[in-house]
């Protein structure tokens, strides 16, 4: 099952430019999660994780784009979120993924905490070019 590549059933995206975009984006993610019948707990984890990543993107990347994809793999459905910004990038990803590390005035659990809420987590960053974070939450994951 793990070798199967997921099929994208549906796509949606939203530009994240201001703090006021956080709640609408969360609501959009929630709509899609409800539509595929995701359990309340997994919905909550997904939306909380999305909220962390959106805030991260606003704070460090000066905003960007948030994409929502509905996935199908085998007998499971899921949601993939992609956050792409053109910000300064992260020089040391490993350090950023350590619990307690922060450069801003947050609590430093954004990235590692969010990773724990998701089933799959991927981060790519290039200094001076930007950061792309991709996460997947499966309906039954």
């Amino acid at each position: 099952m793990t070798t199967m590549t997921p099929v994208v059933l549906n796509k949606d995206s939203m530009i994240i430019a201001r703090e006021q975009d956080v709640v609408p984006f969360r609501n959009r993610v929630k709509e899609h999660a409800v539509r595929i019948g995701m359990s309340l707990l997994n919905q909550t984890k997904l939306i909380t994780g999305a909220s962390e990543l959106v805030r991260n993107m606003l704070k460090y990347g000066k905003g960007g784009i948030g994409m929502i994809e509905i996935l199908s793999k085998g007998r499971d459905n899921g949601i993939r979120l992609i956050f792409a910004d053109n910000g300064p990038g992260i020089p040391d990803i490993q350090k950023a993924m350590t619990d307690g590390f922060t450069t801003g005035k947050s609590m430093g659990l954004g990235l590692p905490g969010t990773k724990r809420l998701m089933n799959e987590f991927d981060i790519k960053s290039e200094v001076g070019k930007g950061t792309t974070i991709t996460v997947i939450k499966w309906k039954n994951g």
């Binding site: 709640v23 984890k45 805030r55 609590m107 724990r116 809420l117």
Partner: protein, 136 residues
């Protein structure tokens, strides 16, 4: 400007959060509450989160801030009615909500606050911290 209403109930303040807080609203709440604690000399703050479906680290920080600020002004903070999914998510996220007391509902939160005030005026025998559940 939208505002979250703060109710005064005797020695305590009650806040019921019923909308998804965007950042400015949450920050306003923090400031308003601390001002109200000061103005009313409240001994406790009850924050009802039973209709909140998401608490992320930002919201968590606001709750923690309120608790710490109130504590300095001699008022305890109890977060009541957290939904199971929210509690599990907070734990998974690694957010401890330091200094915040919790209770199942407003009624039990009130009881908890009363028990926090009384022991200092009552005998020490009653003063076991079994009722006082800190979420650390």
């Amino acid at each position: 400007m939208e505002k979250i209403p703060i109710l005064k109930m005797g020695q305590f303040l009650l806040v019921t959060i019923q909308v998804d807080l965007y950042d400015q609203l949450a920050e306003n709440l923090e400031a308003d509450l601390v001002n109200m604690v000061n103005k009313t000399n409240a001994r406790g703050v009850l924050i009802d989160v039973s209709s909140v479906s998401i608490i992320d680290s930002f919201m968590g920080r606001i709750l923690g801030n309120i608790a710490m600020m109130s504590k300095i002004m001699d008022a305890d903070t109890v977060v009541v009615g957290m939904q199971p999914a929210v509690a599990i998510t907070l734990v998974e996220l690694g957010l401890p909500l330091k200094g915040v007391y919790t209770a199942l509902n407003v009624e039990k939160g009130m009881e908890l606050l009363h028990s926090k005030i009384l022991p200092t005026e009552q005998n020490l025998e009653e003063d076991d911290d079994n009722d006082a559940r800190s979420s650390e």
